[in-house]
């Protein structure tokens, strides 16, 4: 994998990020109505409004604010939250790791269920299991994530009090239900993808060759078929990451999980623009970094790309 390739990817990422920052920043500047007025509420006096405006530097021309924000960004300064009166960076640094954990656990759950299910469904095509899987995934795709979350909450926390309803208990406890919800959100799509990828692979000539050599069916599926099938699944899962991020916002809200999603939603209620900006930025950065990672490591799993580089 050449240095040029990596370097160009990094540069591309950086540019995309810059574009997103700019769009976020500029669009917040274009919010209809006066953000300060909206923030302080209808009872604020003119002096108060002017004061806050000055404090936040909102009376400066747009391009100066833009540059200021960017330079601040480079120093790790994401602005200051109006609502909490704390640096945005600080707030995010508390909640972001929690969201990452949530997504990571959800990803693990999701893959652990979806891939085996997809494989079995493909290998036992036309069986009752296959039809059940296809039916379930079809239904599951139609259930909005919050509906599922609520149902899960109801069943497992209310009806059968396995998990805590509120945010008490250790991290392990509070992460399970949201992670489960989030994983169910993406699992059907991944299972479907796995199934169709496996079906494609199993039809290939090299699988017949493997069988003709006398390999056990298990070996054929696990060693020959799956390795090939996993390649598109890898990229697909990477694309799914975006879904995870968006879904995490809703999931956190349902379970009152103290992650970045909850923070951002609250910031939106409060019209806390610096905080909103910061959250969006961090979300976008995560998303872009993950995509970049997938792009770069894709070469590692597919030897055809590896050697061609």
């Amino acid at each position: 994998m050449s240095f040029r390739f990596v370097a160009s990817k990094v540069v591309q990422t950086f540019i995309t990020l810059l574009i997103i920052v700019s769009i976020v920043m500029l669009s917040l500047a274009m919010v209809p109505g006066d953000p300060v007025r909206l923030m302080l509420g209808p009872y604020a006096t003119e002096e108060q409004i002017q004061l806050v405006r000055e404090q936040l530097g909102l009376n400066l021309p747009l391009h100066i604010r833009y540059v200021r924000y960017l330079t601040g960004l480079l120093q790790g300064d994401l602005g200051r939250s109006y609502h909490y009166d704390l640096p945005v960076a600080e707030l995010i640094s508390i909640v972001y790791p929690r969201t990452l954990w949530l997504v990571a656990v959800a990803l693990i759950f999701s893959l652990s269920i979806a891939i085996p299910v997809g494989v079995i469904s493909a290998v036992r095509q036309y069986s009752a299991l296959d039809y059940a899987v296809r039916f379930l995934t079809y239904i599951a795709v139609c259930i909005p994530i919050f509906v599922f979350g609520i149902m899960l909450l109801h069943l497992l926390a209310v009806r059968i009090p396995i998990f805590p309803v509120a945010v008490v208990g250790s991290t392990t406890e509070i992460i399970v239900l949201p992670a489960l919800t989030l994983s169910v959100y993406s699992a059907p799509a991944i299972a479907r993808m796995t199934r169709s990828s496996m079906l494609d692979v199993v039809r290939q000539d090299y699988i017949t060759t493997a069988r003709a050599k006398g390999l056990s069916e298990r070996r054929v599926i696990l060693k020959h078929a799956l390795r090939n099938a996993l390649i598109p699944i890898y990229t697909y899962t990477g694309l799914q990451f975006g879904l995870f991020l968006g879904g995490s916002i809703i999931t956190e809200t349902i379970f009152a999980y103290p992650g970045m999603g909850t923070l951002m939603v609250n910031a939106i209620y409060e019209r806390d623009y610096p905080l909103i900006q910061g959250c969006v930025l961090v979300f976008a950065l995560s998303f872009i970094l993950v995509n970049m990672f997938i792009d770069l490591t894709y070469a590692l799993i597919d030897p055809r790309i590896k050697r061609a580089r």
Partner: protein
């Protein structure tokens, strides 16, 4: 290829035939028709005023005359669900229309003209499309302020790049066909070619995907309202009902369950109908567009 009655009627005949055999298609068509019916006749169908508060009946469970029970301020849940159907349909149709009316021309021009215009449009479209959709929609609402109309706008904006990509793909394949050359040869004007020849070719794909996007729009508007970023109280929007009612889940689950079921059935109905349309209009499209 002009869009004649045959083009439209033919597939519908197939569709009806298919519906007799395919239960999902029947289900989808029933649900969607039902939803339209409920939406249009809501004032007649709803037994009570969805906004009527009666604190004597707070969170009261389902009983005679109130099959869905009461919500946390004593409003009849059934009536609210019915009116919610109207709102869901309005949200879906409005937002998808935004996508269709803005995205389609852009896609047509981008695909047909090609060149720099195409590159620019595609770059913008691709970056928008790769962005997680919920995040995008939430962000737009964050900027504009939470409201039902802004939610519709946000979903509409989400749908635009989807339509651009869809229509452009169709356009690209139609562009290469001979009848376009024939039209050009007879000196037809550029706009005329696009709208009389290219566009009808996209019609079936547009119809199928729009049906699916209608389902997604319902999901997204419900999600936004759930988060409090869409329809504001006391509007009887399904997602809002779930969002506000969830604190009562332990005590009075009916407040949340019924809107949830409504959302689920509506989405599934649109998906099923979309799939059925796809099969009827062009079986080769199966699996090509994962709405």
């Amino acid at each position: 290829m002009r869009l004649s009655l045959l083009n439209v009627a033919g597939p519908f005949a197939v569709l009806i035939g298919r519906m007799r055999r395919d239960k999902m298609a029947l289900f989808g068509a029933t649900v969607v028709t039902g939803l339209f019916f409920v939406a249009i006749f809501a004032p007649v169908l709803a037994p009570y005023d969805p906004l009527l508060i009666d604190l004597n009946y707070r969170l009261a469970p389902p009983e005679q005359g109130h099959p869905f029970g009461f919500d946390w301020v004593g409003r009849d849940v059934l009536s609210r669900v019915i009116y919610g159907g109207r709102l869901a349909l309005i949200a879906a149709l409005a937002s998808v229309s935004i996508g269709v009316f803005i995205g389609t021309p852009l896609g047509l021009f981008s695909g047909y003209i090609g060149g720099k215009l195409d590159t620019v449009i595609m770059r913008a479209t691709d970056s928008l499309l790769s962005f997680p959709y919920l995040l995008l929609v939430i962000l737009i609402v964050a900027l504009l302020g939470p409201s039902f109309e802004n939610a519709i706008l946000a979903i509409g904006i989400w749908s635009i790049p989807n339509y651009i990509r869809l229509v452009r793909a169709s356009t690209l394949s139609i562009k290469e066909r001979e009848f376009i050359d024939a039209a050009k040869a007879t000196g037809e004007s550029f706009l005329s070619i696009i709208f009389r020849h290219v566009f009808p070719g996209c019609a079936s794909v547009l119809l199928v995907q729009s049906t699916i996007y209608l389902g997604r729009a319902i999901e997204m508007s419900a999600a936004l309202s759930f988060l409090g970023l869409g329809a504001q109280p006391p509007t009887p929007e399904w997602g809002a009902m779930v969002g506000l009612g969830r604190i009562y889940l332990q005590v009075s689950p009916h407040v949340v369950i019924f809107p949830c079921i409504a959302i689920f059935i509506a989405i599934m109905g649109f998906n099923a109908l979309g799939d059925a349309l796809r099969d009827a209009l062009d079986p080769r499209l199966r699996g090509l567009f994962r709405g």
